[in-house]
């Protein structure tokens, strides 16, 4: 049945698209280098449309699974990860992928755990909160703000927090040859990164198996089949065994009177196909993610650059470049780093010297958000989600209640901390890494699922306690 959408919604949706078209055409007229930023913009727009269409949210996925036993979204996310794995394998096999694997160690699982608790508290993951902001959800906007401010502050904390740095980290960080402007001995995150994370192995499954990632066998057999398909299939089997099998078996036994081994396959398949909408969104997300890597690498070759910092410098915007002349330019989908950057830029304008830490000063910079490629992606993602929500009659301004606002701020803060410890969120830390055969992505994912479980259990306890109090007051 066709949904009747108000004319006002259609005009707003077309207005948003027109705004991005004008930005693209106008900036291209100013200089062709802006094509690089436009690539981020239009892929961000596609991500927003896909996320909103598929209601693609990691927090909802695991909350639904653990709280009410509904596996649909969690299954859809795993399917999407496999589909993205396919497109990544193609790009990796060409040898032109922009993907960088992350250091692998237990830190990824711990960070995932903190992130997982946070996303359940907040009611949305990092990407979910962005697309829900595009639907006019005030709670999601608060979550995005909280993630941004927490990250920006967390990466620069020093002083008393330096006392919490293990001596081995401080000693190792001091040997990394960072310039004096970074002041690596002051800052918990700086010493965590340079003294611990950078010392961990950076590998992909293909390389663990003795294959090259940029070969067909390495990309497809190593990374895709073993590094993506196998762990995703194990998670799907776990979901089927724990949440789906029992009800499905009951249904089949009622209908046929017997449950055969083949029924397990049919049950498993029905679980996969039940999450059609999320899987379709996942398919388009996967294709778009792979295509973005391809386009960005092509543009880098075209313009003769390794990082957008060089493009910004050529365009005359050299404020906020890192000490290496770089800015955050992942070449693929990322969410949280650019959120830290815009607050970092604002804080710097207000007088906070935050360019003496590794995160801003050495790696990502704090370019003006108006010229930050990754910020173009996030703004367009919100726009893409808003367009889809408007055209499906799902856009509505929703102000947060006081209680939801508090949870949003706490959850956002935990997600911000988890993101910085893992060097990425549910997208950059899990989805992209896992789909590219990076073991650290799966470690983050395991931690995130564990964190979501703890978050759900805590919420159940909290709600029951609150209800008991209210009932007691009612009795009085």
């Amino acid at each position: 049945m066709e949904i009747e959408v108000p004319r006002k919604n259609k005009l707003w949706a077309l207005g948003i698209v027109a705004f991005f078209v004008i930005i693209s055409v106008g900036t291209f007229a100013a200089h062709e280098y802006y094509v690089y930023l436009q690539a981020y913009l239009w892929f961000g727009f596609i991500y927003g449309m896909c996320l909103q269409y598929g209601r693609f949210c990691f927090a909802s996925a695991f909350r639904d699974l653990f709280a009410v036993g509904v596996p649909r979204m969690a299954v859809g996310i795993m399917i999407a990860t496999i589909l993205f794995g396919f497109t990544s394998a193609f790009v990796n096999a060409t040898g032109w992928s922009t993907f960088h694997p992350a250091p692998t160690s237990i830190h990824a699982a711990i960070a995932g755990l903190i992130f997982g608790v946070g996303m359940v508290f907040a009611g949305g993951c990092a990407s979910g909160s962005l697309y829900k902001s595009g639907e006019g959800n005030g709670v999601a906007m608060l979550v995005v703000l909280s993630i941004s401010v927490t990250q920006s502050s967390f990466v620069d904390i020093g002083g008393w927090f330096n006392k919490l740095v293990p001596k081995s980290w401080a000693a190792s960080a001091a040997t990394k040859g960072l310039p004096d402007t970074i002041n690596v001995s002051d800052g918990w995150v700086d010493q965590y990164l340079a003294g611990y994370v950078w010392d961990q192995p950076v590998l992909r499954v293909a390389e663990l198996m003795g294959m090259k990632t940029d070969s067909i066998s390495g990309a497809f057999l190593g990374n895709l089949l073993t590094g993506v398909g196998l762990p995703a299939m194990l998670i799907l089997l776990w979901v089927y065994y724990v949440w789906v099998k029992r009800n499905y078996k009951k249904k089949v036994v009622q209908e046929k009177g017997v449950f055969t081994f083949g029924d397990h396959f049919r049950g498993f398949w029905s679980m996969i196909t039940a999450s059609k909408r999320t899987s379709i969104a996942g398919l388009f997300l996967g294709v778009a993610c792979g295509l973005q890597m391809f386009v960005i690498e092509g543009l880098r070759m075209k313009f003769g650059v390794k990082n957008a910092g060089t493009i910004l410098e050529r365009l005359g915007y050299d404020f906020g470049l890192s000490a290496k002349g770089t800015v955050f330019d992942p070449g693929y989908w990322y969410v949280t780093t650019q959120e830290a950057q815009w607050v970092g830029w604002l804080m710097q304008k207000l007088g906070w010297n935050n360019m003496d830490n590794i995160f801003f000063g050495w790696v990502n910079g704090i370019p003006n958000p108006a010229f930050n490629p990754a910020d173009w992606m996030s703004v367009a993602l919100i726009g893409g989600a808003a367009v889809m929500a408007l055209l499906h009659g799902e856009f509505k301004w929703k102000a947060p209640t006081k209680e939801l606002a508090i949870w949003a701020l706490i959850g956002g803060a935990l997600m911000g901390i988890g993101s910085r410890l893992a060097l990425g969120c549910n997208v950059g830390g899990f989805f992209v890494r896992a789909a590219n055969g990076d073991p650290s992505g799966w470690l983050f994912g395991i931690g995130m699922i564990g964190g979501a479980f703890i978050g759900v259990k805590f919420f159940n306890w909290w709600t029951e306690r609150k209800m008991a109090k209210e009932m007691a007051a009612f009795d009085l």
Binding site: E2, I3, V5, K10, A13, L14, V17, V21, S24, V35, Q38, A39, W42, F45, I46, M49, A93, T94, G95, W96, D214, S215, I216, L291, F294, V295, I296, E297, G298, L299, R300, M301, K302, F303, G304, V305, K306, T310, E313, D318, L321, K324, G325, V387, L391, H392
Partner: protein, 62 residues
Amino acid sequence: MKTNLWVIIIIVVIFLGFMMGYAVPPFMEVGFGKGGQASVEEMSDEELKQMYENLYKEESDE
């Protein structure tokens, strides 16, 4: 609703096509599945470092 969505999808595809037009030729020049250099050479890390050192030098000279 469907017409509007299709209009938007077509606009997105046009921009994607435009960007692909920029991105594909360097790949065709270099080839797939092997390393190589595009017609515009990437600067080495050392060259980039030198460039930025000079950039700040020029600024401080002014």
